[in-house]
């Protein structure tokens, strides 16, 4: 079988012997000759943001952002009410295709065995092969995996990254459906049974599952749990209804072999190969479907530091791919995907980050203003609530907050629907994570995106 290889430099699919790209994992270089100009533009935009926040009233900035957010949320709401809410599960296929699950593993001895066990528990009428591609592990997990029955273990001597490991596995399998599973992801028993029927057309390139957080243990993970329900649950289902999915989530997704043959394998020089392949599919008219009843649980970062590093990788990959596929942005040739989904999901990250930056500067200015008398003379200024009464009233709050309330109400509906999709009943324990999602998370993500923007355009090398 002539497995085609995707050449990231030229963007062409070339025939090859199926071997992985020799370059190993490296950050894709932007081939734009005007890279320094991009850095200058980026810095100019940041400088403009600072000037704007210092000169234009925050009310106006907040109002503009609120109106844009209201439009985006109402768009999702219209898509949902127009039919995305329906559970149109396709009928089971006449013949269940064979599936190969490829699990790339690099020093994942603490989770890989649970992942393999979960894959072995999958209930599926067709044949399921499990291939673990060890990507040069040094923690002894490869030796231990040799003793596990029912899997095909491949070992790469040199660590070349997840995409290279997946490509290695893909080029050595022959089943029509290929599942890519992270080594810390645990699909539910009926995941394949529910997802495979969605490959019901000739150009269905991928079916994505509902990725949920596995057993959250602290507030950082609980916050991500709510985030995943909203993003991979509600938003994915809504966007999928217009064929607008822009990523095939890394933890687990199913692909058609035919798609790889036509479009090539994963881009090994891309930070987010799952995003890149999805955009490639969209460009070439392959559809990506979402099966929200097919669930896979995955481990998520347990600390803000790890979460920051993960999101920097995601956002830098997003910026990289946004530039690579910038011709699709606002291009009517790509329908709702080009006109709505891509600008909102990739472009809005930038503007949300700018808005968060403005908000942070505004908070800092207000905090500085509030603290200044105390810094000037703490005894005279007194301690609010102790030596100094606090005067607050309903009318002290900015009127434009009411516009934000509208967006909040629609968002609350999305959260409600997300809980429903995750088959969770909102309880007291969800109050704090949902509250954090509303107040803290946007600030955190906005700052992460800003950091990613600076790192990407300064050409900083990526570290896993």
């Amino acid at each position: 079988m002539d497995i085609k290889r995707y050449d990231p430099k030229t963007g062409l699919v070339v025939s090859g012997d199926g071997s992985v790209a020799p370059a190993g994992f490296d950050r894709s270089r932007l081939e734009f000759s005007a890279k320094m100009d991009l850095v200058a533009v980026g810095l100019a935009v940041l400088a403009l943001a600072v000037i704007v926040v210092l000169t234009i009233s925050y009310q106006l900035i907040f109002l503009t952002y609120s109106i844009v957010t209201i439009f985006i949320f109402l768009s999702y709401l219209m898509l949902w009410l127009d039919g995305a809410w329906r559970d149109d599960s396709p009928p089971p296929p006449k013949k269940w295709p064979d599936v190969t699950l490829i699990i790339p593993s690099f020093n994942s001895g603490h989770t890989i065995f649970d992942t393999v066990a979960a894959c072995k528990r999958l209930k599926y009428p067709g044949k399921v092969s499990i291939t673990v591609v060890d990507d040069g592990s040094t923690d002894g997990s490869c030796e231990r995996l040799k003793k596990v029955e029912g899997i095909l273990l491949m070992r790469k001597e040199k660590n070349e990254g997840k995409a290279a490991a997946l490509n290695w596995g893909i080029s050595r399998t022959a089943t029509p459906i290929i599942g890519c599973v992270d080594s810390d992801t645990y699909p539910q028993e009926d995941a394949l049974l529910k997802a495979i029927p969605y490959f019901d057309g000739p150009k269905v390139g991928s079916v994505v599952l509902f990725i949920c957080v596995h057993q959250p243990k602290n507030w950082v993970q609980r916050m991500q749990e709510v985030e995943y329900w909203i993003s991979f649950g509600f938003f994915f289902k809504t966007v999928a209804s217009i064929g607008g999915l822009y990523v095939t989530p890394g933890p687990m997704a199913l692909y058609s072999r035919e798609m790889f043959e036509n479009l090539g394998h994963f881009d090994e020089q891309n930070l987010t190969e799952d995003l890149e392949i999805a955009l490639r599919m969209q460009r070439h008219g392959w559809s990506i479907k979402a099966c929200h009843t097919s669930i896979a649980f995955t481990e998520v970062p347990a600390t803000l530091g790890r979460l920051f590093r993960q999101r920097v990788r995601w956002f830098r990959g997003g910026i990289m791919n946004m530039l690579k596929y910038s011709d699709m942005l606002l291009n009517p040739k790509y329908g709702s995907f080009g006109l709505f989904v891509l600008p909102i999901t990739l472009g809005s990250g930038f503007f949300s980050a700018l808005f968060i930056f403005w908000t942070l500067l505004n908070y800092l200015r207000a905090a500085w203003d509030w603290a200044l008398p105390w810094l000037y003379n703490p005894i005279a200024a007194g301690i609010p609530g102790i030596t100094q009464p606090v005067h607050m009233g309903l009318y002290m709050y900015d009127s434009t907050l009411l516009f934000g309330m509208v967006g909040f109400l629609v968002w609350a509906y999305f959260v409600h629907k997300s809980f429903e999709m995750a088959k969770e009943t909102p309880k007291l324990k969800h109050v704090v994570p949902v509250g954090l999602m509303l107040w803290f998370y946007p600030l955190f993500i906005g700052l992460t995106f800003l950091a990613s923007y600076v790192m990407e355009f300064s050409g900083r090398k990526y570290k896993w």
Binding site: Q59, L74, S75, M78, L372, I379, T387, Y395, S399, T400
Partner: protein, 218 residues
Amino acid sequence: MNPFAKAAILTVVVVFFAAILVAQVDAWRTQELRSSIDQVVLQSESNRLMQRMADLIPTQAQKCAFFNSSGELSKVRAYELATRIQDYQRANFFGSDYAELKQTYFISLSDLYLFTMEQNKECPQNRETPLLYFYREQNCPQCRAQDAVLERVAARCGRMRIFAFPTDANYPFLSALAGKMSIKDAPQLVVGETPMPAGLQDDGALVRALNADGASCQ
């Protein structure tokens, strides 16, 4: 209809109704402020009317007894009202007649101050110590610290009333008053008719100055 077109139309409708609600909240806010300012205006006008009526009373003692028996409208925490005007103006989205409200308030407050000074001369037994407080509305952390001191001291002092005026509000009558009191900088306080040194005055210094003027602070 395309869902995005529907969303655009709905956005316009939602923003329109939200704007109506915001305008209503702004109006309620202005009304709340207006009723507080109206109390100051009412007190000023009542004092003037009483003064005219007192001209008909034959003896000084009877006049002072008349003024003392008139009762008093609630003592508005003058400096707090001035801060509230600023805060509400900032919180409002749709423009309102805050400039006019502010001017009405400061005119009435000036009138109250002058009335207090006249009454102190005519009826020393009813004397209230006026405390003039000149502050800057913008970029004055010392002024905000002075606000805090005034709030604490006001709670300790009986026969005292604070009249707070901004030095950067650009009203001719306030400029005249500041000029008469030789105000150099903000914050600056005038106890009775005696200016204190410019700059922040702490609780102790202020209480001593007020007691010296007969304010009976604890």
